[in-house]
C-alpha cells in the first residue's frame, strides 16, 4: 500500500485507451465499473477530441457481482461490435474487473465474433499507463502484422504516437516531412490514425522509426526480430539529436540526401548576443525518460544552461536515466512520488524547471519558472498552432519554449536601469508573466506540512546571471557556496541598520536576495550582530574573486 496524492501515470488500461483512441476502426471493450468512465474526459476535454473515445465500459455494479458480470461483459461486446462495427476489438479488465477474474479475453474468444479479438493482460496493481500503451500496441502488432514483401521504394513506419501524447500530433508531421525530404516513404504511422487493417501492412516497411520508446519499444523489438526491420534509436529532439537521427537513417538506408537546414533557427538564436544572459541558467529536468534525456542535451549543449538536477517517473527507464545523471554530474531522481520531486527541486533551487504539468504547479508554488516538456499533459499542451518539439521546427519551438519563462535579456537590463524610477515596481516580475509572478508562498501552502517556503520566494526573485551582474555594475557578490538559502532563517540573523537596508534596496531585485544572504552569512561568520553599510561592502569584498 502506498499513499499517493498526485500521479504521473494513470492505470495501465488508460494506456490501452490512448492506443485505441489514437487509432481508427478499433474498439475497446473494458470490463470496469461506472466511475472508470472518467477517463473519457481526458480525451474529450484535455485533447478536445470531438468524438467519444471508442471504449465500451461494462459498468457492472455491486448487485451484479458473483452472478452475471460475465454475461454483462459478453452483452457489452456484442452491442459494441454491432453498433460501432470496428475492424478489430481489444478486450480487457480494469483494476476492479481484474479482481473478479471474468477473463474478458477468454469470454470474447468464445463468442465467435468475425473480427480479430486481441486480449490484453494489463496488471493494474503493479504496472502503469506507459506499460499499458506499450503492451497494447505490442499485442496489436503481434496479432495483426505479418512478414511480407518490402515496398519497392525505401519506406519506414513511424511508431509510438498515441492519443493524449505530448505534442505527438505535430512531431509526427514534422518527422514524416523530414523523412520524405530524405527520400524515405512513409508506410504506416501507428498507433496514431492507423486502422487495424493498416497494422497488417507494417511488414512492408524497410525499417521502423521509433519516436516514443515509452509506447512502442516492445512492438519495435518484436518487429525487429520477426519482420527483420531495424529500428532507429535516436530521438530527433533538439538540433544535435535531429542531425544524429538523420545520420542514423542514412546509415540504415544508404540514402544520402540531407534535409534542408535553412529553416533551423535555434543555433543562431542561441548564439546571438541577446542570449548571453541564458548562460549557466540552472535548470532541473523531470518528466518521462525519453523527453528528459533529449531535453538535457538541448539544455546544456544548445541553450548553454547548467543541468542542476534531472529525473524521470517511469521506472522502466531507470537505468538509462541514472546513466544520464552520471553524464551530467548529478544524481538522477527516479520516482513517481510528486512530493519527493518537489523536495528535490526545492533543494536544487534551480532558476528554471523543465518538467511536466506537475512540475509547473511545483514551480508556481516555489516561484520558479517552468517550461513543460513532457506528459502528463494538460489542455495547454494541445495548442491550436503547429508546435512540434521534434525535428528542425521542433528545435525552433524549443528555443522559444525555454526562453519564454525567463526574463528576457534586454528586459533584465532595463529592469536594472529603471529600478530607481519611482514609478517602477520591483515586485512586478517579467512583464509577460503577470499571471505567473511568484505569489507569497504562505498563501499557496495552506497546510502546515511544508516547511519554510519563504526562502524560495526570495530565491525566485534573483533571476540572475553572471553576465547581467557584471553589466549592471551592481553591488553583487557571488558566494562560493552554492546553497545559500539556509542563512537568513531563524532569529540568529544579524539586524540590518537603516542605512544598510537602504543601500541594499539599491541593488537590483533579481540579485538582491543573494547579496542579502551573502552579507548575512558574512556577518554571522564574523560575529557581527548589526549590519551596517560597511558590513555590506566588506562582505562584497570578501566574496569578490
Amino acid at each position: 500500500m502506498k499513499l499517493t496524492v498526485w500521479t504521473y501515470e494513470g492505470p495501465p488500461h488508460v494506456g490501452a485507451m490512448r492506443v485505441a483512441t489514437g487509432m481508427k476502426g478499433l474498439h475497446y471493450v473494458l470490463h470496469a465499473p461506472q466511475g472508470d468512465t472518467y477517463a473519457d474526459l481526458l480525451f474529450t476535454m484535455i485533447e478536445r477530441r470531438n468524438k467519444r473515445p471508442p471504449v465500451t465500459y461494462t459498468t457492472f455494479q455491486a448487485q451484479d457481482l458473483g452472478s452475471d458480470t460475465a454475461d454483462i461483459f459478453k452483452q457489452a461486446c456484442r452491442d459494441a461490435v454491432a453498433r460501432f462495427q470496428p475492424q478489430a476489438i481489444i478486450v480487457g479488465a480494469s483494476c476492479t474487473a481484474e479482481l473478479i477474474q471474468d477473463d474478458p479475453g477468454g469470454l470474447a474468444e468464445t463468442m465467435g465474433l468475425d473480427i480479430p479479438v486481441v486480449a490484453l493482460e494489463l496488471p493494474s496493481y503493479s504496472r502503469k499507463e506507459n506499460f499499458g500503451t506499450d503492451e497494447t500496441f505490442f499485442q496489436l502488432v503481434r496479432h495483426l502484422a505479418r512478414p511480407m514483401e518490402r515496398s519497392e521504394a525505401i519506406s519506414c513506419n513511424i511508431i509510438g504516437p498515441t492519443g493524449l501524447g505530448f505534442r505527438h500530433r505535430d512531431d509526427v508531421a514534422e518527422i514524416a516531412n523530414l523523412l520524405r525530404e530524405m527520400g524515405v516513404a512513409i508506410n504506416v504511422i501507428a498507433p496514431m490514425d492507423a486502422t487495424p487493417m493498416d497494422l497488417t501492412r507494417l511488414g512492408a516497411a524497410h525499417f521502423n522509426v521509433v519516436l516514443y520508446p515509452e509506447h512502442a519499444d516492445a512492438a519495435a523489438r518484436w518487429m525487429e526480430r520477426n519482420l527483420d526491420q531495424p529500428r532507429t534509436k535516436t530521438i530527433p529532439l533538439g538540433v544535435g539529436a535531429t542531425r544524429d537521427f538523420i545520420a542514423e537513417v542514412q546509415a540504415i538506408t544508404g540514402l544520402t540526401t540531407a534535409p534542408d537546414e535553412r529553416r533551423l533557427r535555434l543555433p543562431w538564436w542561441s548564439a546571438s548576443v541577446d542570449s548571453t544572459y541564458l548562460t549557466g541558467k540552472r535548470v532541473f529536468l523531470f518528466g518521462d525518460a525519453t523527453h528528459v534525456k533529449a531535453m538535457a542535451r538541448v539544455a546544456r549543449d544548445e541553450m548553454g544552461f547548467e543541468v542542476a538536477g534531472l529525473g524521470c517517473y517511469n521506472r522502466e527507464f531507470a537505468r538509462d536515466i541514472r546513466a544520464l545523471g552520471k553524464e551530467y554530474g548529478v544524481e538522477a531522481l527516479i520516482t513517481d512520488d510528486y512530493l519527493e520531486v518537489e523536495r528535490a527541486i526545492e533543494e536544487a533551487a534551480p532558476e528554471m524547471i523543465l518538467g511536466t504539468q506537475m512540475e509547473r504547479h511545483i514551480g508556481k508554488r516555489l516561484g520558479i519558472p517552468c517550461a513543460v516538456i513532457s506528459a502528463p499533459v494538460h489542455v495547454q499542451d494541445f495548442p491550436a498552432r503547429y508546435s512540434p518539439v521534434m525535428g528542425f521546427e521542433g528545435a525552433n519551438v524549443l528555443f522559444d519554449t525555454l526562453v519564454h519563462p525567463l526574463v528576457m535579456g534586454l528586459e533584465e537590463h532595463l529592469l536594472a536601469m529603471f529600478r530607481e524610477d519611482f514609478e517602477f515596481n520591483d515586485e512586478a516580475g517579467p512583464s509577460h508573466h503577470g499571471g505567473h509572478a511568484p505569489r507569497p508562498v504562505e498563501q499557496a501552502h495552506p497546510t502546515p506540512a511544508v516547511s519554510e517556503p519563504q526562502h524560495v520566494a526570495d530565491l525566485a526573485r534573483e533571476a540572475t546571471s553572471e553576465a547581467v551582474q557584471a553589466a549592471s555594475g551592481a553591488l553583487v557578490v557571488s558566494a562560493p557556496d552554492a546553497t545559500p538559502i539556509a542563512a537568513n532563517s531563524g532569529s540568529d540573523v544579524a539586524v540590518w541598520l537603516a542605512d544598510a537596508e537602504k543601500e541594499l534596496k539599491k541593488i537590483p531585485f533579481f540579485v538582491r536576495g543573494k547579496a542579502k544572504r551573502n552579507t548575512e552569512k558574512y556577518a554571522a561568520e564574523k560575529g557581527v550582530t548589526e549590519i551596517s553599510v560597511d558590513t555590506l561592502y566588506e562582505a562584497k569584498a570578501h566574496y569578490a574573486r
Binding site: 496524492v5 494513470g10 473519457d40 465500459y57 476492479t96 501552502h445
Partner: protein
C-alpha cells in the same frame, strides 16, 4: 403564506419512469471528496483503492491546487491482494504516518473503493481499530465511494450518513441543514433563517468536527441537496424529522423551502414577507435577465448529479424552458416529490442509463441545450448541439436567492456563446463526428 406561480394542472409525480440498465457514463462517489474536503477543514479523506481511483480524483479535480491536499489514495499493490492481514497492517502504517505528518487532522475518513470492496477489506473494522489507536483526538469513520455502490453525488450521501451515528445527542428543538454547500451560501441561508427568528440552526457537515450538529428526537432537518436519501434515513433513525420542501434553487424553490421551515416555526406572514421580499425581488430580477434568453428553449438532462429534477423544476417554472428528458442516476421519489409535482407534465423521466441509447434519443430530439458530463460535451457540441457541463452545478454556488441569477446564467451562457460566434466549423480541422 406564499405567492408562487400557479401549480401545473398535472405535475410529473405520476409520470412513469423509464428505467435503464446499460452502460453508464457517470463518475463514482469518490468524486464528492473534491468538494467535501474543502468543506470540512480538519478532515482527511483516505481512499483505499487503486491507481485508477487516484487518477479519477486527479482528473475530476482538474487542477492540482494544493501540494498536499487533504485527500489521498492508499493504492493497493499486489502484495496487499495476497493476504488480508497484510492489507490491514499496511493501512495502519499509512494512517500512522499520515496523522503524525498532519497534526491538524481531526477527522479521518477511510473511503472504500471498488477494489477494496471486491477483496472485502473491512474498513468499518479498520475505522474502529484506528479510532482505538488515534481517538479521541482523531475521529476515524468509513464510507463507500465505490463505483459499484455509488454514483457521483451519492458519495456525499454515504459520507454524511456515516457521520450521523457519531453526532452528539440532544433533546433541544434544533434545526439541522443537511448538505455541503460553499460557506458563502450556507451563511446566507443561516442569516435568512435567523432573520425569520429561527436561531438554533446547525449544519451537517460542520466546518470542522467541533461544529458538527447535535441530533435527537426534537431535531428537525431540511435537506439542501436532493441526493441525501441515506443521510435522511440515518437522521430519522436518530429520531429527527424531515421538513418536506422543494429544494432551494431559484426564487420559487428558495421561497418554498424557507416557507416550509417558517410554517413549522410559526413565523408570521408579515415577518416572512419582510425578510424575503428584498432578496426575492433581487432573485427575480436576476433570473428575468437570463430567462429572456432561456424562454421557450428545450433542455435534455443526462443523468449525473441527481440535481436534475429540482433544476428542471427551476428551469421550466422560473425560466420558461421546456424539458425534453430528465435523466437522473437515481430517483428518490420521496425526496423529489415536491419538485416533481411542480414540473409540468411532458418530459421523459429516466433513471439509470444506457448511454448509447440515450445519445440516440438526445440527438434525435435536438434539444437547445443538453446537460451532460465532460466525456460527452465536446462530442455533442461537434454534432451541433449546445451543452452545459453538469459538474459545474456541484462546484459552483447555485442555491438560494442571491445565486438564482448565476444558476440561470450557467445555462444561458452556452447559448450566448453560440450566438456571438460567427464561425462555421471547418471540416478539415475536425474529424467527422460519429
Amino acid at each position: 403564506m406564499n405567492d408562487l406561480a400557479p401549480l401545473p394542472n398535472r405535475g410529473c409525480q405520476d409520470t412513469p419512469v423509464l428505467k435503464e440498465r446499460g452502460q453508464r457514463e457517470v463518475f463514482c462517489g469518490l468524486t464528492g471528496i473534491i468538494w467535501l474536503h474543502r468543506k470540512m477543514q480538519d478532515a482527511f479523506f483516505l481512499v483505499v483503492g487503486s491507481r485508477t481511483c487516484a487518477h479519477l480524483l486527479q482528473s475530476a479535480a482538474g487542477v492540482m491546487i494544493f501540494a498536499e491536499p487533504r485527500f489521498g489514495t492508499a493504492i493497493l499493490e499486489e502484495k496487499d491482494l495476497a493476504g488480508m492481514a497484510d492489507a490491514n497492517e499496511e493501512l495502519d502504517r499509512e494512517v500512522d504516518r499520515l496523522l503524525s505528518r498532519r497534526p491538524d487532522i481531526r477527522q479521518l475518513f477511510l473511503v472504500g473503493s471498488c477494489p477494496s470492496e471486491v477483496i472485502k477489506l473491512d474498513l468499518e473494522r479498520a475505522a474502529q481499530r484506528l479510532t482505538g489507536i488515534h481517538g479521541p483526538r482523531v475521529r476515524v469513520l468509513n464510507y463507500s465511494g465505490s463505483g459499484i455502490e455509488t454514483t457521483f453525488t451519492q458519495g456525499e450521501d454515504a459520507c454524511l450518513s456515516a457521520m450521523v451515528p457519531s453526532l452528539p445527542d440532544t433533546d433541544a428543538q434544533n434545526l439541522v441543514l443537511v448538505g455541503s454547500l460553499p460557506d458563502v451560501v450556507e451563511d446566507q441561508a443561516i442569516s435568512l433563517l435567523e432573520r425569520l427568528g429561527i436561531s438554533d440552526v446547525q449544519v451537517l457537515p460542520g466546518r470542522d468536527a467541533a461544529h458538527d450538529p447535535a441530533v435527537g428526537p426534537n431535531t428537525r432537518y431540511a435537506l439542501l441537496q436532493p441526493f441525501l436519501g441515506d443521510t435522511a434515513q440515518a437522521l430519522e433513525r436518530r429520531g429527527a424529522t424531515r421538513i418536506d420542501a422543494p429544494f432551494p434553487f431559484g426564487d420559487e424553490g428558495t421561497t418554498a423551502w424557507l416557507a416550509a421551515i417558517a410554517a413549522l416555526y410559526g413565523v408570521s406572514r408579515e415577518t416572512f414577507e419582510a425578510v424575503t421580499a428584498g432578496p426575492r425581488a433581487r432573485a427575480r430580477k436576476a433570473i428575468a435577465v437570463q430567462a429572456e434568453k432561456l424562454r421557450g428553449k428545450s433542455i435534455f438532462f443526462f443523468p449525473d448529479s441527481q440535481l436534475e429534477v429540482p433544476l428542471a423544476r427551476f428551469l421550466t417554472r422560473e425560466c420558461g424552458m421546456e424539458a425534453v428528458e430528465i435523466g437522473t442516476p437515481f430517483l428518490h421519489k420521496g425526496l423529489a416529490a415536491a419538485d416533481l409535482a411542480l414540473i409540468p407534465e411532458g418530459p421523459t423521466i429516466s433513471e439509470g442509463q444506457d448511454v448509447d441509447l440515450q445519445l440516440d434519443r438526445c440527438i434525435a430530439a435536438r434539444p437547445d441545450i443538453t446537460v451532460c458530463g465532460l466525456g460527452l460535451a465536446n462530442p455533442l457540441e461537434a454534432r451541433g448541439l449546445t451543452t452545459k457541463w453538469a459538474i459545474e452545478l456541484v462546484f459552483t454556488p447555485v442555491h438560494f436567492y442571491e445565486q438564482a441569477g448565476d444558476l440561470a446564467g450557467l445555462f444561458s451562457r452556452p447559448l450566448d456563446r453560440k450566438r456571438v460566434l460567427r464561425l462555421h466549423p471547418n471540416a478539415s480541422a475536425q474529424e467527422a463526428p460519429a
